[in-house]
Symmetry: C2
């Protein structure tokens, strides 16, 4: 039993070709993936709808998280911390490269606190930095 099967098993998910294929794609990628990226790479094996459902399941299980974007696209990336079952701990900064268009999780960079006007109570913060990544600079 390979790593991907183990991940599925650990999360009480049935081991299927589609799920393994999608896990492979995430582990092979440096950056975040859009639904379209996955469909393009696994489209011969998987139906559109299955991709949607798999991504949803993986988010629920804490295997991947939705990446915030400024262009209202939907991106997903692996959870490196041990997130589980609806409890995500991804308070890290996300970086979008203007050159290669990749979006990467800066897992070690925590979103800084910020002083809000009186009366505002912060609960969660997200931060997206755009610029040039370490490959493109």
């Amino acid at each position: 039993m390979n790593t991907f099967s183990e991940i599925l098993k650990r999360n009480s998910l049935s081991i299927t070709d589609g799920r393994i294929k999608i896990l492979e794609l995430f582990y092979a990628s440096d950056g975040a993936l859009a639904h379209a990226d996955i469909e393009k790479n696994a489209g011969l094996v998987l139906d559109r709808v299955t991709v949607y459902r798999t991504l949803q399941t993986f988010v629920e299980k804490g295997i991947i998280h939705q990446v915030p974007t400024t262009d209202n696209s939907v991106l997903y990336a692996l959870c490196r911390q041990n997130c589980a079952n609806g409890h995500h701990h991804d308070n890290h900064v996300h970086f979008v490269c203007n050159q290669c268009q990749e979006t990467v999780c800066l897992d070690d960079v925590t979103v800084p606190a910020v002083k809000l006007p009186a009366g505002f109570k912060p609960i969660q913060s997200a931060m997206i930095v755009t610029g040039l990544c370490n490959n493109c600079k």
Copy 2:
């Protein structure tokens, strides 16, 4: 000639009922507006397509800016700084209230700088804070 007409004139845009109506909606609203909000309030006067085109035009002219969101919805808000023709200066924090669901621009709260890993060159930053707003706390 009223304020809204002047705004349009200043931006070399024809003065039309639709554009004035949409400006009115933005100036009457505390928070950011979605396309659907505008359509709901101006739908009798305006076609869906005209709303899309007007929002796009206003963004290009620097009258409004797209508000970053974490739920891949598209929101727009007035530019308070003097943004113009593709040059936006909206490096302020955006706040989403979990209670009333409003998204507001915290125009006076600047997105803090953050230390990135070696090789990453930041150009622009966006920050979205969720929590309870000053009306709902």
